[in-house]
């Protein structure tokens, strides 16, 4: 039934990841200068050129740089499939290790933010959408609209100045003060986390709120809702049985996509609060021109996005029987 469309979506996901790997390949190859220079970094390259030119030739051989572009591409694909992303220019350590370590801290920040915002934005949006033009709607909507016009890094900076520098309620930067263990360390991390988490929750809540509000206010005008109300169903029952059930599919899809964008979504916030996650890693990689690091981050971010897009489709399929039946037509 829907199997064909699903297979199509799966194929599309593979195609997208493939495109990104290809883009990464060509970025290195088509930059001016010797590709080896971009693989091992400028400093290392000039160092080797003087002291051990044969090492450069070895690397050239390893990446197949003497061969045709097609062969080089195959070698690159093979390396990527074996998760060999090369070494960082800066630290000389394998890129993947560093990225995975940093990813852990990004997820530690982003997962709670996404979950909290999903419930908060959903609940507030439901409230405002159920009574459009009501007191709550009139008060909350302009606030959330205003938040969404301020760029993330700007709001983060304002929070930093206000709550960390002026009021001194929260630490200025980093993940932990160091020198602590056990429970005290956990508390300290939470204390450091509060401000970046608040910024992320605020942004995600405002976009969730907007989505939920517009979905619910549309559903509210449907005939089946009027029927449910007029046949004497309590407001709670109408909301849970009829409104929420129909609003859930687009909402879940959007939340799922937020999970997909998690790895890069908190980048600006991380940089402002020096949270040592993937965002700061990307920033450092950009400034040090650490290309293998940057490319690996980019690849992982994209894979995460693509995977969660796919999950979102599956989820919608599971939640909404209409999609299950209709997928062949809509496709």
């Amino acid at each position: 039934m829907a199997k064909r469309t699903l297979l199509g979506r799966l194929g599309e996901s593979v195609l997208i990841v493939f495109c990104i790997v290809t883009l990464n390949f060509f970025l290195i190859r088509f930059m001016p200068g010797d590709p080896v220079l971009h693989i091992i970094g400028e400093e290392e390259y000039y160092n080797l050129e003087v002291h051990a030119p044969q090492v450069i030739e070895e690397i050239r051989g390893e990446y197949g740089l003497n061969q045709s572009l097609g062969r080089q591409y195959l070698t690159y694909l093979g390396k990527t499939a074996r998760l060999d992303f090369g070494n960082s220019y800066r630290t000389k350590a394998p890129v993947l290790e560093t990225v995975l370590f940093r990813m852990k801290w990004t997820l530690f920040l982003a997962i709670p933010a996404t979950v909290i915002a999903a419930f908060l934005g959903g609940a507030l949006g439901l409230w405002a959408g159920w009574k459009p033009g009501g007191r709550f709607d009139l008060a909350a909507t302009p606030c959330f609209l205003l938040i969404s016009t301020v760029p993330t890094n700007c709001l983060a900076i304002l929070f930093l100045i206000c709550f960390a520098f002026q009021l001194g309620w929260f630490p200025i930067s980093g993940i932990t003060s160091g020198g602590l263990t056990g429970f005290a360390k956990g508390l300290d991390i939470l204390h450091h986390m509060a401000l970046p988490l608040a910024v992320l929750v605020l942004y995600k809540t405002s976009s969730n709120y907007m989505l939920m509000k517009s979905t619910v206010s549309l559903i509210r005008q449907e005939d089946y809702v009027s029927t449910a109300i007029s046949k004497g169903l309590s407001q709670g029952k109408v909301l849970s049985r009829h409104v929420l059930k129909n609003a859930l599919c687009p909402y879940l899809t959007s939340i799922c996509m937020q999970f997909g964008g998690m790895l890069a979504g908190s980048m600006m916030t991380e940089i402002v609060f020096s949270w040592k996650g993937m965002g700061t890693l990307i920033y450092d990689a950009v400034n040090a021109k650490d290309f293998p690091m940057l490319q690996t981050c980019f690849l992982l971010i994209s894979i995460c996005v693509v995977a969660f897009n796919l999950i979102a489709d599956l989820l919608c399929l599971a939640v909404d029987p209409r999609v299950r039946e209709g997928m062949n037509h809509v496709g």
């Binding site: 760029p151 700007c154 900076i157 100045i161 890069a264 600006m268 940057l294 994209s302 996005v305």
Partner: protein, 269 residues
């Protein structure tokens, strides 16, 4: 004509007009040369309205000049994105069949690639010239517009006047240019205005990361130096606050303009 427009539209237009004027007349308005170095970290005074930065450059003049680069990048990117989106969406929707499938597949790929990361990667790899930054911003940004244009064209091409033209033997190109395109004006306007705001936001993020156009003042760039050269630790609000306000205000302006346009659209239908 303007009198009938929604209030949001007028406010947005007013904000943007001011920004545009400031951008155009920056050399006349600026009291100092923003590249001229002097005494660093001066507080606001009559001579330097917003003080000076870490190199002793006048922040107020930097801000005025920054309007230019932010606007140019925003406008040119939006133009490119909108033209590409409209062309792809129109071809895909109107021609249908094989064209449609191929173009929509490309659009789906562009839409699924995370936009800010790809922009950062491209900006880091390419040399940071004005055109390279614009390319980096545009590379995936057209996909949303293409989708929306396509679905509108799918509706339009079923309408009688298009069918009549087709039976009369008008060429595809003629129908698209003379009949489909004028009917897309509203959507193109709304999407185009939004695209300017988005491109300016992306540019601000890029230059905040230090990936802006080299040797040019921009709002994100001023914020970058204010943040990374200890403007915040020292509480120099006249350094970090103005660029934040400028970026937010212009994004608000474009948002209001497109929101007003959308209301107008809803009213007419």
């Amino acid at each position: 004509m303007l009198g009938k427009q929604p209030i949001a539209f007028k406010v947005g237009l007013f904000i943007l007009l001011i920004i545009l004027l400031v951008g155009v007349f920056a050399p006349i308005l600026a009291p100092c040369d923003p590249y001229q170095m002097g005494t660093p970290y001066l507080r606001p005074s009559a001579q330097h309205l917003l003080g000076t930065n870490d190199l002793g450059q006048d922040i107020f003049s930097e801000l005025l000049y920054g309007t230019r680069i932010s606007l140019i990048i925003g406008l040119v990117s939006a133009l490119a994105v909108t033209v590409a989106g409209v062309c792809i969406g129109m071809l895909s929707g109107y021609l249908g069949g094989w064209w449609d499938r191929a173009l929509m597949e490309v659009t789906a790929v562009a839409q699924a690639i995370p936009s800010l990361p790809v922009t950062i990667v491209l900006a880091a790899f390419l040399s940071p010239s004005l055109w390279n930054i614009i390319i980096a911003i545009c590379i995936t940004a057209w996909s949303g517009t293409a989708r929306i244009i396509r679905s509108r064209v799918l509706q339009l091409k079923e309408l009688p006047f298009v069918k009549i033209e087709q039976t009369m033997g008008a060429s595809h190109g003629y129908i698209m240019a003379r009949h489909i395109l004028p009917n897309l004006f509203d959507i193109v306007f709304v999407r185009g205005v939004l695209a300017v705001g988005n491109a300016m936001l992306t540019e601000a993020s890029l230059s905040f990361l230090g990936l802006g156009v080299i040797g040019q003042k921009s709002w994100g760039g001023i914020l970058h130096y204010a943040f990374f050269r200890s403007g915040i630790i020292n509480g120099y609000w006249w350094w970090y606050l103005p660029p934040i306000l400028c970026i937010s205000l212009s994004v608000l302006g474009f948002l209001l303009l497109s929101y007003g346009g959308q209301q107008q659209l809803g009213r007419r239908n």
